[in-house]
């Protein structure tokens, strides 16, 4: 296991299969933790990505596993741990103004995904791609970082 912070970046193109979503969750949790996010915040970033992928699968591709998603992330360690994420699809285009969190006072199943994404991430913007489909750009800077053994010893 690494004891120093490290950055990483990755672009991956995969089908809209929930089995892939699990793999992406693990990847993003690992990347966020390695660049200095706490386990809690890394888990929340992973959840935001998972919710975004679920929305593409359910609403964009209408539950089809034949859709494609292009997922890109890049992490930074300084000045604070930060992760930038882009998720592109070729699915149905929607007016980004219609992608909104619902009223949480109205307790009902469903409709939480956008709220969770917007709550967890510092920035989340949906745009229509010129080539068709949608693009979600998200970023988050860590607020609670974990301290590695080496950093503790140097202080």
């Amino acid at each position: 296991m690494s004891t120093t912070l490290s950055t990483s970046e990755c672009t991956i193109d995969f089908p809209t299969s929930p089995a892939w979503f699990r793999s992406i969750r693990k990847l993003i949790t690992s990347a966020a933790t390695q660049c200095g996010f706490s386990n809690r915040e890394a888990g929340q970033v992973s959840m935001a990505v998972d919710e975004a992928l679920s929305n593409i699968y359910r609403h964009g591709y209408m539950g089809s596993t034949d859709g494609r998603v292009r997922f890109t992330y890049k992490t930074y360690t300084t000045p604070l741990p930060k992760i930038m994420i882009e998720i592109e699809d070729d699915a149905i285009q929607v007016d980004s103004n219609l992608i909104q969190s619902r009223d949480l006072q109205d307790i009902k199943p469903g409709g939480l995904g956008v709220h969770l994404i917007q709550t967890v991430m510092n920035h989340a913007t949906w745009t229509k791609r010129d080539q068709g489909g949608m693009k979600l750009s998200m970023s988050k800077t860590a607020t609670n970082t974990h301290t590695t053994p080496i950093q503790s010893a140097q202080k």
Partner: protein
């Protein structure tokens, strides 16, 4: 779609049913939890305890399933409670501001005692 189903342990006692999902509850597994909950609610037990001690991760579809279970239970006058939440699951419930909606106990013993 992932064809493997969510493993769920169900313990039925005189007044309570404890349902213990084993593993992540995500888009591909939340329907398994829904299918497991319906007959338990229909059986009109007094109390349903969802023990989440073996659930490291739950997405919004899992949360939606729990909300559905809570609402159906209320209609049948069944006490529907959660217990033993792991950090990741507690986090999403808090982010969705549902920690005030669900009755949550630290342990299974607490959930059965109250």
């Amino acid at each position: 779609m992932d064809k493997s189903t969510l493993q769920i342990d169900i313990e039925v006692s005189e007044n309570s049913t404890v349902i213990t999902p084993l593993g992540d509850i995500d888009l591909s597994k939340s329907s398994d939890l829904r299918v497991a909950l319906r007959p338990i609610i229909d059986a009109k037990t007094e109390r349903i305890v969802v023990d989440l001690s073996h659930v490291p991760y739950m997405d919004s579809s899992g949360i939606a399933t729990l909300i559905e279970g809570l609402q159906l239970s209320k209609k049948s006058n069944i006490c529907f409670v959660l217990c033993s939440l792991q950090e990741g699951v507690r986090s999403i419930i808090e982010l969705a501001r549902l920690d005030q909606i669900f009755t949550i106990f630290d342990t299974r013993e607490d959930s059965l005692a109250h």
